[in-house]
Amino acid sequence: MVDGVHTFFKDGLRLDGRRKDELRPIKIKAGVLKRADGSCYLEHGGNKIMAAVYGPREVHPRHLQHPTRAIVRYRYNMASFSVDERKRPGPDRRSVEISKISREAMESVVLKEQFPKTVVDVFIEVLQSDAGTRAAGINAAAVAMADAGIPMKGLVTACAAGKISGEVVLDLCKEEDNYGEADMPIAIVPRTGEITMIQMDGHMTFDEFREGLELALKGCRQIYELQREALIERYKSGVEGEE
C-alpha cells in the first residue's frame, strides 16, 4: 500500500495540481462523424472518447425488437491502444458490465414510445484511457444522442468522486484511481436530479459517501453546461456531419 499522506497531496493540492473539488479539463465537440446519425468527441483529462449513435433504426436481429417501443443498445469498448498494456480486442467482463450499466443510465431518459420496433445503437470507443472512462462515455453518449435527434426527457451527465489518503475528492485521475481507497462514478439527469447510475469500488463511510455524492453532483452540473455548449456551438458553425 502506498503511503497516502505523502503521495497524493502536496501543500493541499493533488498530484496534478488540482484542489479536491476540481474537475480535470474537458473538451466536447458534437457532430464529428459524417456517417453516424449523431456523434461526439470528448476529452476529459487524458481520456479521449469517440461516441457514435445510429437510430432509431430497424432492429437486426428482428427477435430483439419490442412491439411498442424502441430499445437501446450500448457498446462500451476500449481500443487496444487506449492503455499502456495492450488491451486484447473485443468485449471483456468489465466492458460488458460498463455497457450494461451505461445503457441503463441512458435508457430511462429516451422517449422510447415514439419509435416502436426500432433500436437506438450507441457506440462508445475509448481511444485513450485515464480513469473515469465510463463517466466520460456516458457524457459523450448523451451529446451524441441529442445530436442524432433522439427525443429525450433531458441529457444525462456523469462524474466520479473518490477517496484518496482518507480525503473525499472529485474526479480521480489514473494514479488516484489505481492507488486510492474508493472510486464512485455516478450519472444523473440534471433536469430532474434523478440518479441513473451509481457504483462504488472501495470503502467509504456513510458520511464520506454523502460528501462524495455532493461533490459528484457539483461536478455533473459543470459538465452539463459543457455538454449544452457543445451542442449549441455545433449548430452555430455548421460542422461536417451535417447533411
Binding site: R57, V109, D147, G149, P151, M152, L155, R191, R228, G238
Partner: protein, 221 residues
Amino acid sequence: MDAGKMPRIVVPGDLLSEEPAKVGEGAYIEDGKVYASVYGVLDKKDRIRVIPLAGKYIPKRGDTVIGSVTEISFSNWILDIASPYEAYLHISEYPRRIEPGEMSKYIRVGDLIVATVLDVDWSMMVELTLRENQFKVLRGGRLLEISHTRVPRLIGRGGSMISMIKRESRCSIFVGQNGRVWLQGKPENMKLAAQAIEMVVREAHTPGLTNRVVEFLRANR
C-alpha cells in the same frame, strides 16, 4: 423564421416555460412546466414547439413521400421511404385495376415513385396509396436525399423557396416529406438546383437565406 433574428437553439431538457402552455412537437409538459425533448430550434409563435435539427423521418397520414421499391410480395409492393419503417403499397391502391401477377409490369423493384401515406397504425405499419396523385414512376432525373427536418425550410412559406429555385434553375423539382427530392431538367441545371438545395440545407436556420440563394443561382446560371 423571424427575418434578421438568430434563433434560439435548445437541447433536450431545457426549460421552455414555467407555466403550462399548448405544446407541439419536440416539447413536453411535466409538473406544469414545458421542457424541450429534442435538439432543435425553439418556436413560440403559436404553440411552444422545437423544430428538430436532426432525426429520422416518421411517416404520418397525409404525407407525400418518394419511395423506392425493394420487394414485391403477393399483393403488395414494399418500399423504402428513408425511415426506420418500411411502407406497403397494396395492389388495390394502384390507380387502375391490375392483377397480382402483373404487378412488376407496372412498378418494378428499384423504381422510384411518389405516393401518399394513407395510414400508419399503432404497430407502425405504413400504408401508401397512389390514388391521390398524378401517378408516374420517376425516371430520367436525379434524386437527392436530405434530412427531413429541412423540408419545411426548403419548401418555404407558401412554397416560396422551392418555387424560386425551380424558376431560377429551370428545373422541375418535387420535395417529398421524407427528405427525398426529385429533380428533372438539363444536367447543368439540375447540378445548379442541387447546389442551391444543399445551401438551403446547410444554412436552414440563418436569416436572409432566400436572398442569398437567389443571388447564388443568378450568379451561377
